[in-house]
């Protein structure tokens, strides 16, 4: 296995682990809540 392939697998696994950890600690409802409501900061109202 090449070094590049090894790093790809490592980063891929780390990414997957972080996604699972984020879901487990309840980040997804925060993302959803922000995304379904008008973000006044994003549109320049503040």
């Amino acid at each position: 296995m090449s070094r590049r392939r090894g790093i790809q697998i490592l980063i891929g696994l780390a990414g997957a682990f972080l996604v699972v950890m984020g879901i487990e600690r309840g980040e997804v409802p925060v993302v959803l809540h922000k995304a379904v409501n008008i973000c006044l900061e994003c549109i320049g109202i503040g």
Partner: protein, 279 residues
């Protein structure tokens, strides 16, 4: 039947990605936001979730929302998603999937004098934007409830102004009444990015985009990447002259600036450059 050139295929993918990311087009006229389950997921490119047409969340907006949420200081969920997308595609997301990237490319087609970046070191500004506005400010400067502002979205993001601010202010008189100096600042910044993109190819991608900064860090290891056949390369420089990101594909095929558009591969007279999935 004539087969499509690489650039035509890339443009087609860009338009498909734009359409899929902003499929709720009917909401534009009503100024409503899509509130369905797809908003739990992020688009790979920069696309404001306050755009009425947006189907998914913006990864940079979501990162700040979670980072400034009080109980979290950093988003594992979003960073994990960006790592997965980035290790697969690197900045090919910028070249193929980002709606704001497409917008800049279309702007650059407008007739005007064309220039390169006046100072090459400006490309590092996007890393400052990422660290300060996306990561630090939302986590550090919080209100009495422990919630931080999404500083990049609030003070910088032109995609938010273009895709969210303008359509929503057009359809909501109450928002127009509330618009003040911050909206004026963001409109001026949007105008500067638009003019910048007309004159300098992919101006925002080069100088300000924090999402491009993140994906660029993974360009060195991404599965989809540039491969240069040193035996065929005659160092003619054609690839460097063509590159929209002002890099030398031959000397830096894994450059953090490369958006994998493939223009270099398409024009190489010796066919020494290829876009590949495997080494």
């Amino acid at each position: 039947m004539t087969s499509l050139s690489h650039n035509m295929k890339r443009r087609l993918i860009q338009w498909i990605a734009f359409a899929m990311t902003n499929a709720q087009i009917g909401n534009l006229g009503m100024g409503k936001l899509y509130k369905g389950p797809w908003k739990q997921f992020c688009s790979p490119g920069l696309n404001c979730y306050s755009c009425p047409a947006a189907v998914t969340a913006c990864p940079i907006g979501a990162m700040q929302a979670v980072g400034g949420a009080g109980q979290f200081n950093i988003s594992f969920y979003i960073i994990g998603i960006l790592m997965l997308i980035g290790i697969l595609l690197g900045r090919a997301v910028c070249g193929f999937l980002c709606p704001f990237g497409l917008f800049q490319e279309l702007l650059h087609k407008l007739p005007s004098p064309k220039r390169l970046l006046p100072w090459k070191k400006l490309i590092y500004l996007k890393y400052v934007v990422l660290i300060v506005f996306v990561i630090l400010l939302p986590a550090i400067f919080t209100n009495y409830m422990g919630i931080g502002d999404p500083a990049f979205c609030k003070y910088i993001c032109p995609a938010g102004t273009l895709e969210g601010g303008i359509p929503l202010l057009l359809t909501h008189p109450e928002l127009r009444q509330a618009a003040g100096n911050l909206f004026l600042w963001k409109m001026m910044l949007l105008l500067a990015v638009i003019i910048g993109s007309v004159v300098i190819e992919r101006f925002f991608c080069k100088v300000l985009c924090p999402l491009g900064a993140i994906y660029g860090l993974l360009n060195r290891f991404s599965v989809y990447h540039l491969h240069v056949d040193d035996k065929k390369c005659i160092s003619c420089g054609a690839c460097s002259r063509l590159c929209p990101m002002e890099i030398s594909p031959v000397f830096s095929p894994d450059s953090a600036e490369c958006i994998r558009c493939g223009k270099c591969a398409g024009q190489c007279p010796e066919q020494a450059i290829h876009m590949v999935w495997k080494k």
